[in-house]
């Protein structure tokens, strides 16, 4: 099979959240999360008391229109932003109380993030981009990191591009590299923000299939999208409208 999971090197430390997997245990818990911003036009409440639980191994699509608050919700889960009120618990850690440095360290080990515009560092090669999170989180030895990066690229069918710079790749190829980078530290949770928003439909479909495979192999995948067709193919769709979740419990598959 093309997407066989990699065995993590023995020297790799166990991620904080990588306790014995209980597929039905919650990995994401949001409790009455409110997020308000001060804007030039006055205070703006982006999230209005969000309660959300996502279990391990789930493939969840967070859907909503532009400005609905879905990206803010993702930022709350990834710790990229902090709630004004409420508590966020992800992979066994209450992240609301962590400082920026602890958050970064925690994020590096617990979450793989995939961005709409790929956000690969332009001056690093494809392999180096994948090795970068391992470098920051001291994941494995030097040689193991390269080995693992190449294995992840092989899994993404991108082996021949390992030593190219990102600008030499197509959008779809860059997004595959971004997914490989997200998997570099073998996190239990993958968060993707409009991962197919910048891709043609054929490539978007391939990427989506990749997420499905990852979810089927035990990874929790949360994908923010405004594409209703894609969200219908996820395990669960959480619809955000005007800063509130309107269907927290609806299971699609």
């Amino acid at each position: 099979m093309v997407f066989d999971w990699l065995k993590r090197p023995k020297s790799v430390p166990t991620p904080v959240a990588d306790v014995p997997i209980d597929l039905h245990a919650p990995i994401i818990e949001l409790d009455a999360v409110v997020k308000a911003y001060d804007t030039a036009a006055g205070p703006y409440v982006a999230l209005k008391g969000i309660d959300l639980v996502i279990n391990r191994g789930e493939f969840v699509a967070i859907v909503g229109k532009s400005g609905s608050g879905k990206s803010t919700l993702m930022n709350m889960i990834t710790g990229i932003d902090r709630p004004t009120q409420g508590e966020v618990r992800v992979a066994g850690t209450t992240i609301t109380h962590l400082d920026e440095n602890s958050l970064a360290e925690w994020r590096g080990r617990s979450i793989g993030i995939i961005f709409q515009f790929f956000q690969l560092l332009p001056t690093l090669t494809v392999a180096e981009n994948i090795m970068l999170p391992m470098d920051f989180c001291d994941f494995g030895s030097e040689s193991e990191r390269r080995e693992r990066a190449l294995a992840l690229l092989a899994r993404m069918e991108m082996s021949e591009h390992a030593d190219k710079l990102p600008m030499a790749l197509s959008g779809g190829q860059q997004q595959r590299v971004a997914i490989a980078r997200a998997l570099a530290n073998d996190p239990p949770l993958l968060m993707a923000d409009e991962p197919t928003g910048n891709l043609d439909s054929r490539t978007a479909d391939a990427i989506f299939t990749l997420f499905q495979d990852l979810a089927s192999q035990g990874k929790t995948v949360v994908m923010v999208t405004h594409d209703a067709d894609l969200s219908s193919r996820a395990g669960r769709a959480v619809t955000v409208t005007d800063g509130q979740i309107v269907n927290p419990e609806r299971n699609i598959a």
């Binding site: 930022n75 990834t78 710790g79 990229i80 932003d81 902090r82 920026e100 440095n101 958050l103 970064a104 360290e105 994020r107 590096g108 080990r109 793989g112 993030i113 961005f115 515009f117 956000q119 560092l121 001056t123 690093l124 180096e128 981009n129 090795m131 970068l132 999170p133 470098d135 920051f136 989180c137 030097e142 390269r146 980078r181 997200a182 570099a184 530290n185």
Partner: protein
């Protein structure tokens, strides 16, 4: 293999070559200027000290009535005297032209040429000097306007001029450099001295003490013993000269001040380059804000990211070092050669003091790291969300300046846009302005210092109201000589005065450094003193003395109103200091004292006699000075007068100006370096501004802006920055130049300089800044215009 984060730093350096080159060059110039100056001065100081110590310098020199080797041997055997050497110095002159003579001092060398104290060494040609030949001190050969092998007309006052062949050169480090003293030094054997009419006995004994040669009290005590010994031989002590501090070359006194002044200017170059580093690191961080957000998102801690950017700053420094160290080695070698040449010292081999390399490493690494701290802290401490949002440029139309620009009428839209763009990155603009303005201020200040130096020199020369001065080797009746001088064509008036050498006598009986005395009528028409304290001499005043301000460096306790003891012709007399005048003198020249002819005659008894006549001419130009000098020389010699020297104000100015050349050249070089660093700063800023607005430029072009319009916006912005910097630089230069003139005048020359603002430098700097602004902005403008609209709009 390097970790990816360090790979990123290396690639960032490599992919932004223009930016890297600008920053690295800027740091390298700063380190180069700083290192060159410090190394140059340290090596010169060491070379000067070593060369001087190699002459076995005298601990003291006592001048007395003529004596021979018997007394020298007695002194050599005296308690605590290690070595003694007899000396005879005779005033002479060498003819340079029909009526042009060069002041010369002839030294008597032992027949074998071997000296033990203040050792004179052979340099080129014959050694010791053959009969009826002269050796010239190597640094003063050019002043004789002759070469080895040439025959010159040499004359000892009162004796027949002889044709003397220059048999070679000698090296005498015990003397002040010819460039400062303005004299030729010659060495002859006893036969030649006698042939020329000079005395072959000694009038000075120079000796070296046993024990601690640096202990001034010990030297004074031994000098006292030697004085007693000489007195017992029936001779009076004319003067005892104990160099203070001991074992220091006379010219070494200027080096610490020179090092301070140039060191500060070198540091300024470094500071100016720091602004460019802050701007660049800050631009890199702004440009990479989103990348920083991504790195935070994938697990990078703040310290890891700041470590990366500090590493970038260190890398800039290391690259700069690669350029700066070899360049400063070459630069300091050239600089050392230049200063050493002026001070008559040899720089025999290429050396770079390790301490300077160490300082360069510190400067190249620490300065960029400190400079990077501000932008790194500002950007890295942003949250991951803010970083990912990638906010880069401040919004328009919110500041007062933006509102003000919007209100300006009659300005074209591209110009209005250029004006707005100028003020968009205010802190970057502030640093660019600071760098360029500081560069301009230093440039104008350096030129002002140069102008002030020469204006003070001119004022000093102008205060001497005579046109030509005739000095005689002996006293003549003023009533006899004056009509003869007035009969010379071109001479309008004449005034007689007297010259002498006097010594301040301290409370403990020791004498200070010699002072040149001029005794003249109180109501002189030939001198207009620039008083800085007290008053000028009064007619008939007998016990009053006026001193030049540079005396206070050696006699700091002297004040106006104080009664001081002065030794004139072996006798001590009390005089009251009635005033201080400013008279520009090269750093190591003796101080000047003025008293009335009546006052001098009261103690020296030369009533009605003179040895110096000052004349004024109808026209005061160089040609008249030359022709009048020649006429005076011809007629006075024909009339049988024993003329020592004839010199004009024009010649004095040339000689004095030549002595300030060193400072002038170094200041010009430093000013150029500062201008280059400022230009690099502006180019860097314009490149960053244009790079950050690549997308905006694309939009402008997409909506119809021509290449010319885009270029106009970018170049106008550069010119606005340049002009703002010019105005600021001019404003800063006013106090800066005043402080520099005061500091250098007082510390180096012992007199405050007449601050003369160099308006021409303001004009020159305007043109330079205008050209720099246009060039610095045209380069990035050209790069922006080359991009296609598609490329520009795709720019992330």
């Amino acid at each position: 293999m390097l970790r990816p984060r360090w790979q990123k730093i290396l690639r960032d350096l490599a992919y932004n070559r223009m930016r890297t080159v600008l920053v690295v060059t800027s740091i390298a110039i700063g380190v180069f200027a700083f290192g060159t100056i410090i190394a140059g001065l340290i090596v010169t100081q060491q070379a000067l000290d070593n060369a001087f110590l190699g002459t076995n310098p005298a601990s003291a020199t006592i001048t007395t009535a003529e004596f021979d080797d018997v007394l020298v041997n007695s002194v050599a055997k005296a308690h605590n005297v290690a070595q003694a050497q007899g000396r005879q110095a005779v005033t002479a002159r060498i003819q340079l032209g029909p009526a042009l003579w060069q002041d010369t001092v002839l030294y008597l060398l032992p027949n074998d040429g071997n000296t033990t104290v203040n050792i004179v060494r052979p340099e080129q040609g014959d050694w010791p000097p053959p009969r009826h030949t002269v050796l010239i001190e190597r640094a003063s050969l050019s002043k004789a306007q002759a070469h080895i092998g040439d025959t010159v007309t040499m004359e000892i006052p009162g004796h027949t001029a002889q044709q003397v062949r220059i048999a070679g050169t000698a090296y005498d480090m015990s003397l002040p450099p010819a460039i400062i003293s303005g004299q030729v030094f010659g060495y002859v054997d006893a036969d030649t001295m006698a042939w020329l009419g000079g005395s072959t006995s000694y009038n000075q004994v120079a000796f070296v003490v046993q024990g601690n040669r640096y202990d001034l009290a010990h030297i004074s005590s031994v000098a006292h013993t030697v004085e007693q010994l000489i007195k017992r031989s029936g001779r009076e002590i004319i003067n005892t000269d104990i160099p203070s501090p001991p074992l220091q070359h006379p010219a070494a006194v200027i080096l610490p001040t020179l090092m301070t002044i140039l060191g500060i200017l070198g540091l300024l170059v470094l500071v100016i380059s720091t602004f460019l580093i802050i701007n660049t690191i800050s631009a890199i961080l702004t440009q990479q804000t989103r990348q920083i957000g991504v790195m935070k998102a994938i697990g990078a801690r703040t310290d890891q990211i700041s470590g990366m950017y500090y590493a970038l700053a260190v890398a800039f420094g290391l690259l700069a070092l690669i350029i700066a160290i070899p360049l400063s080695m070459l630069g300091s070698y050239a600089f050392e050669k230049f200063i050493a040449g002026q001070l008559n010292v040899d720089i025999t081999h290429f050396t770079m003091p390790p301490v300077v390399i160490f300082l360069e490493i510190i400067a190249a690494i620490v300065v960029p790291v400190i400079a990077a701290t501000i932008p790194i802290r500002l950007v890295i401490n942003r949250s991951a969300r803010e970083s990912l949002a990638g906010d880069t440029i401040a919004p328009l139309g919110v500041s007062r300046i933006d509102t003000l620009i919007a209100k300006i009428k009659g300005v074209s839209r591209p110009t209005r846009l250029a004006l707005r763009n100028t003020f968009r990155q205010k802190s970057r603009l502030a640093r660019t302005l600071a760098a360029l303005a500081l560069g301009g201020a230093v440039f104008i200040s350096a030129m002002t210092l140069r102008a002030s130096l020469f204006v003070t020199l001119d004022a000093s020369i102008a205060s001497q109201r005579y046109d030509v001065e005739v000095q005689f080797n002996r006293l003549y009746r003023a009533s006899r000589i004056t009509p003869d001088i007035l009969a010379v064509p071109g001479v309008v008036t004449a005034e007689s005065l007297l010259r002498d050498v006097i010594y301040p006598v301290h409370a403990d009986g020791t004498t200070g450094e010699k002072i040149t005395l001029r005794a003249m009528p109180a109501q002189t028409a030939m001198f207009s003193p620039r008083m800085v304290a007290g008053r000028w001499l009064l007619p008939g005043e007998r016990d009053g003395i006026v001193l030049s301000t540079n005396i206070t460096r050696k006699e700091p306790s002297y004040t106006v109103g104080q009664v001081v003891t002065i030794r004139i012709a072996d006798q001590d007399y009390p005089f009251t200091i009635v005033g201080y005048i400013e008279e520009l003198q090269p750093p190591i020249n003796p101080g000047l004292a003025y008293m009335t002819i009546d006052g001098y005659n009261a103690v020296a008894g030369s009533v009605g006699r003179t040895d110096t006549i000052r004349v004024s001419t109808q026209i005061h130009d160089a040609l008249t000075h030359k022709t009048t000098s020649a006429a005076l020389e011809r007629q006075l010699t024909q009339a049988g007068y024993d003329v020592r020297l004839i010199h004009s104000r024009t010649e004095d100015r040339i000689i004095l100006a030549d002595r300030f050349n060193l400072l002038s050249v170094v200041l010009s070089i430093l000013s150029t370096l500062i201008a280059v660093v400022g230009a690099l700063g502006l180019t860097g800023t314009m490149s960053m501004n244009v790079l950050e607005r690549t997308r905006e430029i694309g939009v402008m072009r997409a909506v119809g802006a021509s290449d010319q319009a885009v270029r106009q916006v970018i170049v106008s912005e550069g010119v606005v920055i340049g002009m703002l910097a010019w105005v600021m630089g001019v404003l800063i230069s006013l106090p800066m130049s005043a402080v520099m003139c005061y500091g250098i005048g007082i510390n180096l020359l012992g007199t405050s300089l007449i601050w003369t603002y160099a308006w021409y430098a303001v004009g020159v700097w305007f043109v330079v800044v205008l050209l720099l602004s246009v060039i610095a902005s045209r380069l990035p403008a050209r790069a922006a215009i080359r991009l296609t609209v598609r490329e520009v709009l795709a720019y992330e």
